[in-house]
Structure formats: C-alpha cells, structure tokens
C-alpha cells in the first residue's frame, strides 16, 4: 500500500480463532474498524467479546488468524506492544492506580524523563493539562485519582489513552458505573473523538445506548461471528435475535413445580451502595417466594440482582432496609451467621473468591458451614464429619482422586458441587443461587439442575440468578427482571421469552 492516509479501515481482524485448553472460545471471527466510527461489539456473556478484545489488546498472544493495522499485518507480543501501536482499552474494572496522582496515571509506563531517568514533571503536566482541556474536564492534576468519582476516573482513562497517541480506543462497558448525566458527558466526548478520526470499539449490553452511539454493530454468539450491519439497518428485534437466537441444544430435566406455602417475603427492600458510588443498588424490591418454587431474577451485570442476594444474606450487615419474612416470621437481616441459622443461604457467583477455602480439602469445605453440628463442646468429631461429607459426595456425584484432596485441585464443576453440598449440609429453607452453573461443564450443569429440582420437591425455595437465558427460562417457575436496582418486569413461565427478558433487562419500556 502506498500510503496509510487513504486506506479506509484502520483495523482489520480476520479468521480469528482462539482456544482455551482445547475448547474453542472464538472461531473464525471477523472484525474491522474505520477511522471516525463507533463500532459496537455485541453478544451475550460468554459470546467471546472479551476474548476478542484481549487479543486485540495484546493480552492473548496465542491465537490463529490475522490482524492488520493500517493495512499492515501485525502481531502483538504483549499489551505494551499493542499500546505502542496505538491501541488503548478502557476497562470496566479500571486500570488506574488509585493512590497515584492524575498526571502520574496519565503517563504511567510512558513517563517523560530526561535521558529516560530524570523525571520531567513540567512537560508531563503541560501535556496532561492540554489533554484534559481537550476532553473538557477540570481536575487537579496533583490529586490522587481516588479522590474523583468513577465518571471522572473514566475521563482520566481516556486522557491516558490519548496520551499514548492511541488511534483505536476500546471501551468495555464504560457506562456500567455511570449515571445518566455522566453517560451524556461520555457520549459527548465520544462524539468529539469521532470528529478527530479516532476509531472506537464499544462493548455494551444496553440496547438504548448501542443505538445512541453506534455507527456499525457486529455480533458474536457462542464464539462465532454472526454478522455486521449498519446501526440504522439493524432493528433492535433483529439485533436481539442475532445475539440469542441459537437453538437450545442443552438438555434441561423436566421440572414439575410443586408450590406450597410462602417461604420468603420481601417488602420494599432498599440496599445502600456498599461502594458508595450510587445511593441505592437495590431500590424498593418486593417479592414473594413459595416453598418448592424457583423464582428467576434476571438482570444484566450491575442491575443489582447479585447485591439483592448479598443484602438478604447479610453480607453487608444491617445496612439493608425493608421487611423480610421467613416462613411468615419476621426476619432481621444481621449477618451471614444469623441467616445460615435461619435457613437462608447464598451461593455466590465467585466460588474461588467467596465460596471455597481453596487450600482446604473437599470434606472440610463441605462441613465448613455446619461445623457446630460435628463439634459438641468444640471438639471435632472427625469420623462423623467424614461420613456426612461422604454421603454428600455420593449424592452430588463429586468426582476427585481423594476426598482429602485440596479443593483447589478439582475441576470447576466439582468445585461448584462442593459449595452446593456445603450449603445443603446446613439444611436450608431458602437457597439464593447466584450463577450456580457458571464455568461448569454441560454434564455437571445437568446434575445441578436435577439437584435443584430435587430440593424444591423437598420443599426448599430457590431464588436463581443466571446470565444464561435458556437456563433461566427452563429452570424458573416465575421470572422477575431487574434494571438499575429496581424490578422492571415479572413474567409467568408460560409468557416469558428471551426477547422480553432482554428488553426488560436493558431498561426498555415494560412489555405489556
């Protein structure tokens, strides 16, 4: 090519295929980007968007396919390499170092220094000032970034990207922590960047946002490329069909709901934001759950459904406001200890972070929440503990070389079964299951569905969060949808469809 000035596309990704330990997460994916456009990358959780972005950002270097930058084939060796080539990403979990100053963050890894040693603070400050003025934000360069709210930090990240002379900016769900006004500000800046011929790759789950900002939309589904279209040519209905319109090839066991008495009742529940960025993460939520019932709580990440579970369970202590009744009796949310005692347990969506004690063995993880039952007077009855755990291991079909093996060393599906066994061991009445099949293989998934059906048949009640819509539709007897902390829709099993749920989860008008 003679000159890069006249080439239309600045980025071309072709036939991208990527596998993790033998499993293809991306297969023959295509993506391109023109200067001065916003190209939205859409798809469900697990569709492969993040993997594709990480390939582009030089995080994953082991993949098949070709990346062309300004018409030249290129392969990044590491993230720094990608950044040097003008690709910057702005993450939802931000990459700023909160205790460092604004200016230091902007030039992190690219400090201006005399002879590469002696810091040149003056030129850094001047340049940062210029960049921030260009973005139209007014911040004190010498304050640590943690002094500023998320929205400003996001702008600082953009300034950092510009300081790298980035031509391609990747924004991965940049609005998930912003309020309406801040979103408007961000979009204004994106418009400016478009004018200046930057190319922007934008990932979002929010339909209204996608249509407000995008020029073109590409969709991935199950790691495969579905298609690309101009935003004007692709109706929201069509986009949703592109995103979720797969054949349901998973087997769900038949479920016959046997609903009994009311087990859990929540009235006007409010939960203040534990991180303090918003006022409420859960706002005015009321629901009722019967024995033997599975109630699905749909919602995108940040909708507040996980926080609702944690709030109910007592993770945030007594900060929850509202009335909760368990089996008709008032229940005061205090702490996980109290909730477990009253038969309300939570399976978190992060089994390694908050579910398991990884260095402990399988048996000890299973008995972790019911140790009192095996230790009258504080002395452990190891034999009794082992026998009880052994029963669960058989009932759950937990497979491992030895039950004394550290739980860290068994597969994801078996780990999840261990956490479930831990909670079943406490004889719960209400199970809050947050992504019970996350990162679990198909066989173990089926086992877990069967177990859920068994438990409800025994009279337990389940609140279920899952980002896999087919699973939600198949397992729930009723579905409620949350958006920005509020319940926005409720469906009976018969009337729920993936489209309706996505609409409600993205904050569209209530479907009548």
């Amino acid at each position: 090519m003679m000159s890069t000035e006249h080439t239309e596309t600045i980025l071309q990704m072709e036939h991208i295929t990527k596998s993790f330990s033998g499993v293809k997460v991306l297969e023959d994916v295509f993506f391109d980007l023109n200067p001065g456009e916003v190209h939205v990358l859409a798809g469900e959780n697990g569709a492969g968007k993040t993997t594709l972005i990480k390939i582009l950002a030089g995080v994953h270097t082991d993949f098949e396919g070709e990346i062309q930058l300004n018409g030249q084939s290129i392969r990044f060796k590491n993230p720094h390499d990608a950044a040097e080539s003008g690709i910057s990403s702005i993450h939802q979990d931000m990459s700023l170092i909160s205790a460092m100053t604004v200016v230091d963050n902007i030039f992190l890894g690219r400090e201006h220094a005399h002879a590469n040693v002696w810091m040149n603070y003056r030129t850094q400050k001047e340049k940062a000032q210029k960049l921030l003025a260009q973005l139209g934000i007014d911040v004190n360069l010498m304050l640590p970034v943690e002094e500023y709210p998320v929205s400003v930090r996001q702008m600082i990240e953009i300034a950092k990207a510009l300081a790298y002379d980035a031509r391609i900016i990747i924004m991965d769900e940049p609005t998930s922590a912003l309020n309406e006004l801040e979103v408007k500000q961000l979009f204004q800046i994106i418009q400016d960047l478009k004018q200046k011929k930057y190319g922007i790759i934008y990932i979002s789950h929010r339909l209204e946002e996608i249509y407000e900002i995008s020029d073109r939309i590409s969709v991935l589904r199950d790691g495969k490329y579905v298609g690309t279209a101009k935003a004007d040519d692709l109706s929201p209905q069509e986009l949703i069909r592109w995103m979720v319109g797969r054949e349901i090839n998973q087997q769900f066991p038949d479920r016959t709901p046997a609903t009994g008495e009311e087990r859990l009742r929540i009235e006007n529940l409010y939960l203040p934001d534990p991180t303090g960025t918003k006022e409420w993460v859960v706002e005015d939520v009321s629901l009722s759950l019967n024995a033997g019932e599975i109630l699905g709580i749909a919602g995108l990440r940040g909708s507040g459904n996980s926080e609702l579970f944690h709030g109910l369970f007592g993770t945030y202590g007594k900060s929850v406001d509202g009335i909760v009744r368990l089996d008709g009796k008032p229940f005061k949310i205090q702490s996980p200890i109290q909730s477990i005692k009253h038969g309300l347990v939570l399976l978190t969506n992060d089994r390694k972070g908050t579910g398991l004690v990884l260095p402990m063995n399988i048996i000890r993880n299973i008995s972790l929440s019911s140790l009192r039952a095996y230790s009258p007077g504080g002395w452990m009855q190891i034999q009794k503990e082992n026998n009880a755990a052994q029963d669960h291991i058989e009932a759950f079909g937990i497979k491992a070389q030895s039950m004394h093996q550290e739980v860290e060393t068994v597969s994801g599906g078996n780990q999840q079964k261990v956490v479930l066994a831990k909670w079943l061991e406490t004889h719960p009445k209400v199970l809050l299951l947050d992504e019970p099949t996350l990162g679990v293989d198909v066989g173990a998934k089926h086992d877990i569905y069967t177990l859920m059906n068994q438990w409800t048949a025994q009279g337990m009640a389940i609140l279920l969060i899952t980002s896999e819509l087919p699973e939600l539709l198949a397992m729930s007897d009723r579905i409620m949808v949350m958006h920005r902390g509020r319940i926005t829709a409720e469906f009976k099993k018969a009337e729920a469809t993936q489209e309706k749920i996505i609409h409600a989860a993205m904050g569209e008008e209530k479907t009548a």
């Binding site: 996980p336 200890i337 908050t354 004690v357 990884l358 260095p359 972790l368 009192r372 504080g378 452990m380």
Partner: protein, 337 residues
C-alpha cells in the same frame, strides 16, 4: 488399560510424597543432622548432652513459634512476641522476686497479661481491620515501652532495693530453680518439656478443635469463611490471645533461665520465631501449615546453630549461614506449589 492406570496412580502417589510438607521439612532436618554427623567436632555431636542443650536453647524460641504458627496459618503475623516475652519476663521477676508473690499467683497473672495483650492485637486486627503487620508492630513498640516502664529500665534481679538505699539479695524462689532444672537424670530440660506441652496444645487446637478449623478457614479465604458463617473477629481475638499466652510462657521461662527480668529480653526474637515457622514450611500466605512443621523447623534451626557452634564457627558466619538457609527453605516451599 488397567496397568496404565496403576502406574499413573503410583506416580501420583510419589508426587504426593514429595509434596507432603511434613516430609520436606523432615528431609531438611535429616540433612542438617547428617551435616552434624559429618562435622561432629570430635564426637561432641554424638553426646546426648549436645542434643539436650540444643533443645533447651531452642525451647523459648520454639514456644514463641507455636503461637506464631497459629497466627500465620490464620494469614496474620505477630511482631509483638519478642516484646511480650520481655514484658512478661520483667513482670514475673517483679512479682516473684521483688514482691515475693507466690508462684501460684505470679504465674497466672503473667499468663493472663500476655493473653490480654495478644487479644488486644487481635481486636485491632479483627474488629478495626488494621493490618496484622501494623497492629502488632504497634503492640511490639508499646509492650517494649511498658516493659521498660514497669522495670524502671533496670534488670529485675534477686538484688532488691531496701528502704535504706542498700541492696539485699533475696533467695531464688523454687519456681525459678524448677523451671531452670533438668529432669530424667539431667537428660531433659524442664523448658523443653514445657515446649512439648505447647506443641501438644497447638496440635489439639489445630486438628481436634472446631477453633482450629476456623483458623485454617480464615487463613485460606477470609471472605469465604465469613460468608460460611464463621465468627471471624472472635477467632482472631482468640488466636492472637493464645499467641500472647505462649509469649507469657516463654517470658516466664526466660526469666527463670536468666534469673532476672530484663526489659531488653526478647529483642528480635519475633524474627527467629517467624524464621522457625517458615523453615518448617507453614505458608506465610495462610491456610496451609501445621504445628508439626514448626517443631521440625525449630529443631532444624537449633541443630544448625548447635553444629556451627560446636565446630567453633564464628558468630558472623553463623548468622550469614542462617540467612542463606532461610532463603533456601523458602525456595523449597515455593517449588511445592
């Protein structure tokens, strides 16, 4: 097919053997022991007295390391153990020698004070979420200051100041003699016996009590433990409290061995205690380890120092070698993971 599986199982087993931290710790001890046999200093290494003295010498450190083990398994650290040893040594001498309290009063008083100080650290860490390093660093400085304050900066010995300004020597109370004596035909020091008791207590706690399970769970994943209904704050209070209790035991032994309460006693002992725990193979990240490892670690360090001293290696080389051994032990730990 069948044979293949068998072979695989056997190789797994072999890997497990190598992975067993207890065996690794024991291998290190055997290695040091072999060095002792090679450099036996004209047979001095083959005399029981050498081993008895080694055990006696290491006992006070190892008692501190017992408490340290519990704290480290709970993913903490306690820098105040040396200072608490100093404080309780001073107090025990003050009570027994100068105030002439009965040992039945002086001993429990010291143990309670040690446990209280330890629990105070635990409270700062558990309730107020201060990092263990910082909280116990503060406690280390505070307790040292307190030791100097109650002693007036003087060593508390059998020379008691009289109202007329003269010093009078009091008799050494029998408890001092007892703690400093050797039993079984002079073949075993009483302090070593006390160490065995401390190890036993820790072993019971870690393997037989629910409390021990709590310690491992909190060290392995504090948030998961909390969400599993484990009383995290109370467990930390108890664990650091027990560590303080062991410090008091060590302090009393130290006072008996030195026949005085030195407010400077126990300086840098916290580092030796941590070194013993680490060389044993208890993971500094928490959640993994055991008291058996610490006991073996104590013997390893004890033998190492003994061998170097009977071969008349100077202190300078001794310290440098010990430093190198600690690094080696940590590498050993790393390769396990």
């Amino acid at each position: 097919m069948k044979t293949k599986q068998k072979v695989q199982n056997r190789s797994d087993q072999r890997r497990n053997w190598l992975r067993s931290p207890l065996l690794r710790a024991f291998a290190a001890l055997v290695l040091v022991f072999l060095i002792g046999i090679m450099f036996n200093a004209d047979g001095a290494f083959f005399k029981w007295n050498t081993h008895r003295d080694m055990l006696r010498h290491i006992s006070v450190f190892a008692i501190l390391a017992c408490g340290m083990t519990l704290v480290i398994i709970a993913a903490g650290i306690d820098l105040s153990v040396g200072s608490l040893l100093g404080l309780t040594a001073v107090l025990f001498s003050l009570f027994s020698l100068q105030q002439a309290w009965s040992p039945w009063l002086a001993l429990p008083a010291c143990l309670v004070i040690g446990a209280t100080f330890g629990a105070a650290s635990g409270g700062l860490i558990g309730r107020f979420k201060i990092q263990p390093f910082i909280a116990t660093l503060a406690m280390m400085v505070f307790a040292r200051g307190m030791a100097k304050w109650v002693s007036g900066g003087q060593k508390i010995s059998t020379a008691v100041l009289q109202p007329d300004g003269t010093y009078q020597y009091v008799d050494v109370p029998p408890i001092f003699d007892f703690l400093n004596s050797k039993i079984l035909n002079e073949n075993l020091a009483v302090v070593t016996l006390i160490l065995f008791a401390c190890v036993l207590i820790c072993w019971v706690i870690l393997t037989k009590l629910r409390w021990g399970r709590y310690i491992y769970a909190i060290g392995g994943n504090e948030e998961a433990a909390r969400l599993s209904g484990i009383p995290v704050i109370r467990t930390k209070l108890l664990t650091y409290g027990l560590c303080g209790f062991f410090c008091a035991i060590a302090g009393v032994c130290q006072a008996a061995q030195e026949l005085q309460g030195d407010p400077e006693a126990g300086m840098t002992y916290e580092l030796t205690a941590i070194a013993i725990v680490v060389i044993g193979g208890t993971n500094l990240m928490g959640g993994r380890g055991g008291i058996g490892l610490t006991f073996i670690g104590a013997m390893t360090i004890g033998y190492l120092e003994k061998i170097l001293s009977i071969n008349a290696v100077g202190e300078a080389s001794r310290l440098m070698l010990t430093g190198a051994i600690i690094v080696g032990a940590v590498f050993f730990q790393k390769s396990r993971r």
